[in-house]
């Protein structure tokens, strides 16, 4: 876009909201905007939600077990989203569980992304037997049903939050490794790598300053594709009872508890389920949008 065009488009009077959307490249991207707002809201709740949490998430209200949400018959404002089988406030548990789910999802994804990308770059740099071994590990990881692997580790090694985060983080490293390896291989064939090498850059600087920025966009997109998977994996493990253990709670764990009352009190499972569903959907939408944004040649 030339400067004249930019001036012309910004010359049009638009609301401050429209101008803001335009500046961030969100004009017309309603789905992305909604997804961004939703994800920001979820992050806000995950970080600051404890300030608005009506009850401690473990507090029992034995007189009001399985109370429906406020908009259903028999609901009350005391428990806006109802209570579970022990009379615990669903909203409070949701806020608390969200916090842990987001933490596990984000940290797990970052662990997987860094580990996988690093091993991929190492494989592409050293080639030879290093590459053979690493790619064999990737193939093993791919052919292993990960959920069984994760269950085995959690059952044998024991279960605490750190181990859980590492286990869900390991899931997906092979995707980053393959992606990073193939992209580094093709980047190394590019003339610009030879050109900067002829300018006297060392290998490390070439990776850091030239190759990594070129492949980072794709890796970030891969991470946004993976993030919902990690959150779902945590939910699955917690649902199966091998993930987050009481008294801690996560979205998957609430879902797992709610499973037993699906007919009687569907709200226990439906609310965390909806939060997970929209969260993963939003992240996927944002990832798609980011893929286009992060490629400067598409501007």
């Amino acid at each position: 876009m030339t400067t004249e065009q930019t001036k012309a488009t910004t010359g049009i009077k638009r609301s401050w909201l429209g101008a803001l959307l335009h500046r961030w490249g969100l004009s017309g991207e309603w789905l992305v905007t909604i997804a961004l707002i939703y994800v920001s809201f979820i992050l806000f709740v995950a970080i600051f939600g404890f300030l608005f949490q009506p009850y401690p998430h473990t507090q029992l209200d034995l007189f009001n077990q399985l109370q429906p949400p406020v908009f259903m018959e028999g609901g009350s404002w005391a428990h806006i989203l109802g209570t579970d089988d022990l009379g615990r406030d669903v909203l409070s548990r949701l806020i608390r569980g969200l916090r842990l789910s987001v933490l596990i999802g984000v940290v797990g994804t970052v662990i997987g992304a860094i580990l996988g990308s690093f091993l991929g770059i190492v494989a592409a740099h050293f080639r030879g037997w290093v590459e053979e071994v690493l790619m064999m590990l990737v193939d093993i990881q791919v052919s292993l049903p990960f959920i069984i692997f994760a269950l085995a580790i959690l059952a044998f090694v024991g279960n605490n939050l750190t181990i859980l985060i590492i286990v869900v983080g390991i899931d997906g490293w092979e995707r980053y490794a393959r992606l990073a390896r193939s992209m580094v291989l093709s980047a190394n064939q590019q003339d610009y790598v030879l050109a900067v090498r002829s300018l006297g850059l060392s290998n490390f600087k070439i990776y850091k300053r030239h190759v990594l920025p070129n492949i980072l966009g794709t890796l970030v997109v891969q991470a946004t594709i993976n993030l919902p998977g990690v959150i779902l994996l945590e939910s699955t493990l917690s649902f199966l009872g091998l993930g987050v253990q009481a008294p801690m709670t996560s979205l998957g764990q609430i879902l797992g508890v709610g499973r037993d009352y699906l007919i009687l009190a569907p709200w226990i499972a439906v609310f965390p389920g909806m939060v997970i569903f929209f969260l993963t959907l939003s992240i996927a939408v944002i990832g798609d949008w980011l893929r286009d944004r992060l490629d400067p040649t598409l501007k």
Binding site: R127, Q190, D191, Y192, L194, A195, V196, R197, S198, L199, G200, L201, S202, R209, H210, P213, N214, G217, P296, T297, K299
Partner: protein, 339 residues
């Protein structure tokens, strides 16, 4: 070929001074699954400060590999088996990787064939030029930026301030090549190696880039190695020429002598295959056959299978260089005799 007239005939006297870069007996082997092939065989080159050496030859004759090997930039498969590369008296093949990194881009810089892919697509032009400044010179941020703007101006990029923040895809081929040149000369190198700098550009831009290179060479006192397969480019820009065929140098001469009086049959064939404006040619003559791939190199004179002037003496024996004059030599047993 009236461009030849533009070149000052100062060919004599270059041989005595110590050359800036001297390549002696360089051989490069590529390891392939089918075995090793020698793509560069015992190559000698010399280039002195302030002069342009044209390295001419067909694709695959080992021109680029020779220069990449001299800068130790070969891919893993390529191996230097013998020879030395003396730059200011120091053997680059024995230097440590750290010394080479300090040297590349600072004293010896290189520009490449396709400028559109030789720039990092995700960094701005300004960033990339500034990088090579930061690498070799201790400049503050603002000093580096103003130096970059100067460089952009020097290589003839209009509106340097706007262009500074633009990405390579916003540049045309000629502009990208100018930016590449700006990067290469950022630290005022003593030697610039230009690997087919004009091949990917159209003809009008070619002339501009060659002119730019000659001007810069004069202004900065650089030596220039110009790798090309285009004799027109050689005529326009080179002082001395080395003709390569199948991994060997076959003839070395000052540019005027080479065009007036080629001694090797290959050089002669190349010149005959050029269209001429100064005389009437019915039909261009081509050299029969094709340049051999490295695994089909023959013993003895490698041009022998395509040469119409060979006899039994030519097979099996590598032709030694014959020193024709102080600045000319040719590797042929029966060089072209002047008619």
């Amino acid at each position: 070929m009236n461009e030849i007239e533009n070149i000052q005939p100062d060919a004599t006297g270059s041989a005595e001074e110590t050359p800036l870069l001297e390549v002696r007996g360089l051989s490069v082997v590529f390891d392939t699954p089918e075995g090793s092939v020698k793509v560069v065989d015992n190559v000698d080159l010399k280039v002195s400060a302030g002069r342009t050496l044209g390295l001419v030859g067909e694709s695959g004759s080992g021109k680029s590999v020779t220069c990449l090997a001299a800068l130790r930039l070969l891919a893993e498969r390529g191996r230097v088996t013998s020879g030395e590369v003396l730059f200011e008296g120091k053997d680059l093949l024995k230097a440590s990787e750290g010394e080479m990194e300090a040297l590349r881009g600072c004293k010896i810089a290189m520009i490449f064939q396709d400028p559109m892919v030789s720039l990092n697509p995700v960094r701005t032009i300004g960033w990339q030029i500034t990088e090579s400044l930061h690498l070799h010179k201790n400049l503050s941020k603002s000093a580096a930026k103003s130096r970059t703007l100067e460089l952009l101006d020097l290589v003839g990029i209009p509106e340097p301030k706007t262009r500074y923040g633009e990405y390579p895809h916003q540049f045309s081929g000629g502009m990208s090549q100018r930016a590449m040149i700006a990067m290469a000369i950022a630290c005022e190198p003593k030697l610039l190696i230009a690997d087919e700098p004009t091949t990917a550009l159209d003809v009008t831009i070619q002339a501009q880039i060659l002119e730019l290179l000659s001007d810069l060479k004069k202004d900065l006192g650089m030596a220039l190695i110009l790798i090309t397969h285009d004799l027109g480019v050689i005529a326009e820009a080179a002082d001395d020429v080395a003709v390569m065929y199948a991994g060997r140098i076959v003839e070395e001469a000052p540019v005027l002598d080479l065009f007036d009086n080629p001694l090797h049959h290959y050089t002669k064939g190349l010149l005959n295959s050029l269209p001429r404006v100064d005389r009437k040619v019915e039909r261009l003559s081509a050299i029969a056959g094709a340049a051999p791939p490295p695994h089909e190199f023959v013993e003895g004179c490698r041009f022998e299978p395509r040469c119409g002037h060979c006899n039994d003496n030519c097979t099996g024996v590598r032709p030694e260089f014959q020193q024709v004059s102080a600045t000319r030599r040719v590797a042929c047993i029966h060089p072209v005799t002047t008619p």
